[in-house]
């Protein structure tokens, strides 16, 4: 069948493909953590209802607030530096882009380090018969994996932007990595409140 209208290449070279794709991936990630936290809150509520007066965190474990709070602030600061990187990328400011990315990456590595420290400090045995332990390790471990993924994604986008003649050519990629980064930070803030502040 013949077409009736004028014939021309119809596909528009739409931008922000990476941002949209990363947005969908981030939605999946948020739902994954939503599932984990839903199970955690449901199980904790059931436990406390069935065992009034008992602690959800098993005896002997130290789930303290200091390290998680430092991590939360670290990640909040990284939101600012991440946006700084996006802003500098859009303005073809290579020096600021590099600085902002290095600081953001450093914050990410610091969070990994602090999580490792927290694991050593908690003394929460996964085989101790506690319902809380597998859930806490699944949630915090999954977030740790997400930090690593966000760092790798950031690194790839950074290499693309910084090796291009103009960084703004890769603004879509940099913004996409920011989308994932912000989702990761948001997830941690919920974990911080749900697991550590209201433990």
């Amino acid at each position: 069948m013949e077409t009736t209208g004028p014939v021309a290449p119809a596909v528009l070279p739409r931008r922000r493909t990476l941002q949209v794709g990363t947005g969908f991936a981030a939605a999946g990630v948020l739902m994954y953590f939503g599932g984990l936290l839903g199970v955690y809150f449901s199980e904790r509520a059931d436990f406390l209802r069935a065992n009034p007066g008992q602690s959800w965190i098993p005896a002997g474990a130290r789930v303290e607030l200091t390290a998680p709070t430092v991590m939360a602030w670290t990640l909040l600061l990284s939101v600012v530096t991440m946006q700084w990187a996006v802003h500098a990328t859009a303005r073809d400011d290579r020096r600021h882009t590099l600085t902002a990315l290095l600081v953001t990456g450093m914050f990410g590595v610091a969070v990994i380090n602090q999580t490792a420290f927290q694991y050593g400090q908690m003394g929460l045995a996964i085989d101790g018969g506690s319902l809380a332990a597998p859930l806490i390790y699944t949630i915090s471990g999954s977030h740790l994996a997400l930090v690593v993924v966000a760092l790798v994604y950031l690194f790839i986008m950074a290499v693309r932007a910084l090796t291009a003649p103009r960084t703004s050519v890769h603004l879509d990629g940099m913004s996409a990595s920011a989308v994932l980064w912000h989702a990761m930070v948001f997830v941690y803030l919920v974990i911080w409140v749900g697991l550590f502040v209201t433990k």
Partner: protein, 572 residues
């Protein structure tokens, strides 16, 4: 170009064909291709092959349930449970969903006028990860794994990880499709002007993307719990499948049927040669079906009262109402066409899928009434007379909870999804294989597969009314339910036969394609953009044949004059 650099290249900037690199042929070409058409074909063929294996598992289960003398398929309850869980997982994640994803990966970019998918290498990687995961999944079952009690711990861990791998790979494929639809549509193709199949993939994809990560979360918790010497709760064998069973029950399972609705909605207007009226209403109905098929929040393991919540009851009753509304929309086509469409294989398959879907909606309706009993009981808790009357009247429906009725519903929806996908495969066969699929084969598959699906589903419901428990236990068969199991086995044989015919058609199509077969671009008189492309389409899909602007949901029936009602009828 890096793996993520995937902007659509306008034709004026594209390299001339004579300068383009020659496509790699053979196994290396299959492994490395990011062409959505190649990847789509790989999904389709692999899911059909794995689906046949899964159906054989289902046949063995039903044969065991018949408890006929001389038939003792499984040596013990553990192996029965293993195959039981493999069948459930396989029916959804190795057969129905990948088949639909394969069809969508092939057709959606063509339908929306795109030259490819948004992330071609991610689409390819998703397929290979899925296939590898499926291989590991089946292998883990073979070495004593599975989501069961009494399995080998390491093998069970492998089962959990490979199941998650299979799900994540399919989610990646879905994310690629969603991104393609969000960013690669041509000028004028707003969401409400999208073809109904693409729209249905968008809706189902959104539901999967938002619900299946919760399944991955369930698997992650179980896996972590299993890492200790003794699983506390989540990794315990008897709890493993219960935690993920929500995926195989209503309302979540209905998400599988949504793309099948899209295929039916695509075929019927072309068959009648009449544009669909109330397009926005039809799209809204599909969207509503998607919204109510989200079931990640209705996990019985963590919330035992989930099946008596209003959301669950509404989610079970609504599909029946939505299907009735869709039927009304499609009946309008027949009324306006004032003639019967010419019989064709894909039309028979679409009608067969629709029939099974109607049956599934009725089954969900009946099953939800069981949940409604619990819901109504909460209103009548201060009135003992009313409560006892209610109990007496609706006891058989209330008793359906936790019975084989759930399996019957799953079988019906999977059959509808597979029939819908096969209908699409036959309808778009000129694009996929360069030749029209045999109408006789279409009629045969529509009859055999449709009847088999209805038989299996109906017998599941019957077994449910007879009190057959859904979860396998030591006494997994009861009098009467044995007859239902025997008839279910006959139904599964029917589905297997139907699938065998589809596979023969696919093999013939692939052979013709390898010999360079080609067809006219639009043999059915279709109205969506994929019919502009050559059959089979070239590497960039369209070679500048597209209209500059899309002005309606049926751009190829768009007359120069604005009156859509007088659009040319499809050449049958």
């Amino acid at each position: 170009m890096t793996a993520t650099e995937t902007h659509a290249v306008p034709a004026e900037h594209a390299a001339p064909a004579e300068h383009a690199a020659a496509p790699v042929r053979g196994p290396a070409g299959l492994l490395s291709s990011g062409d959505h058409k190649t990847v789509g074909r790989l999904w389709i063929v692999s899911s059909l092959l794995l689906g046949a294996f899964v159906l054989v598992c289902g046949l063995l289960l039903h044969l065991e349930r018949t408890a006929l003398p001389g038939i003792d398929v499984f040596p013990g309850i553990t192996s029965f449970r293993q195959v039981f869980t493999l069948y459930r997982i396989g029916a959804v994640f190795l057969l129905a969903m990948p088949l639909l994803i394969g069809l969508a990966t092939y057709v959606v970019p063509l339908q929306i006028g795109a030259r490819g998918v948004a992330f071609p290498r991610a689409a390819s990687a998703a397929f290979w990860v899925w296939l590898t995961g499926a291989g590991i999944l089946i292998s883990s079952w073979a070495i004593g794994g599975g989501l069961v009690a009494g399995g080998e711990q390491r093998a069970v861990e492998l089962s959990l990880l490979s199941f998650a791998m299979v799900v994540v790979a399919q989610l990646a494929a879905v994310a690629v499709l969603l991104t393609t639809m969000a960013t690669q549509r041509p000028r004028g193709m707003s969401l409400e002007r999208m073809p109904i199949f693409s729209w249905s993939v968008l809706v189902a994809g959104a539901v999967w993307l938002l619900s299946l990560p919760v399944l991955v979360a369930n698997l992650a918790i179980s896996w972590v719990d299993l890492r200790g010497p003794d699983a506390v709760r989540y990794g315990a064998g008897q709890h493993l499948f219960d935690q993920v069973s929500w995926v195989f029950e209503q309302p979540q399972v209905f998400a599988l049927a949504i793309p099948a609705i899209g295929v039916v909605g695509e075929i019927l207007p072309v068959a009648f040669g009449t544009p669909q009226r109330r397009w926005g209403v039809m799209l809204s109905l599909v969207g509503l079906a998607g919204a109510f098929s989200f079931g990640a929040d209705l996990q019985r393991f963590f919330s035992p009262a989930a099946q008596t919540t209003p959301l669950y009851v509404i989610g079970g009753i609504l599909p029946a109402l939505l299907v009735v509304a869709l039927l009304g929309g499609w009946a309008d086509l027949g009324r306006r066409a004032r003639r019967l469409p010419r019989p064709s294989g894909h039309l028979a398959l679409a009608l067969s899928a629709l029939g099974v879907l109607v049956f599934a909606a009725i089954a969900a309706f009946i099953r939800s009434l069981g949940g409604a009993v619990g819901f109504l009981r909460s209103f009548a808790r201060h009135n003992e007379t009313w409560q006892s009357d209610l109990d007496r009247a609706l006891a058989p429906l209330d008793g359906l909870r936790g019975t084989m009725a759930a399996a019957g519903l799953l079988d019906l929806v999977v059959a509808a999804a597979v029939l819908g996908a096969v209908a699409g495969l036959f309808y778009w066969s000129p694009k996929i294989f360069g030749r029209k699929a045999s109408h006789a084969a279409g009629f045969a598959v529509a009859g055999i597969l449709g009847a088999g699906g209805v038989l299996v589903g109906a017998m599941g419901l019957v077994a449910g009314f007879l009190g057959q428990p859904d979860r396998p236990s030591q006494n997994f068969s009861s009098v009467g339910a044995e007859v239902a199991a025997a008839l279910s086995a006959v139904g599964v044989i029917g589905i297997l036969l139907g699938l065998a015919i589809v596979m023969i058609s696919v093999v013939r199509g692939a052979a013709e394609l390898a010999r360079g077969a080609s067809s006219v671009p639009d043999p059915w008189g279709g109205y969506t953009l994929e019919w502009v492309a050559a059959s089979p389409p070239p590497a960039d899909n369209f070679a500048d044949r597209l209209p500059a602007t899309v002005r309606s949901p049926h751009p190829l029936w768009e007359a120069p004059a604005p009156d859509v009602a007088d659009a040319p009828r499809g050449a049958q």
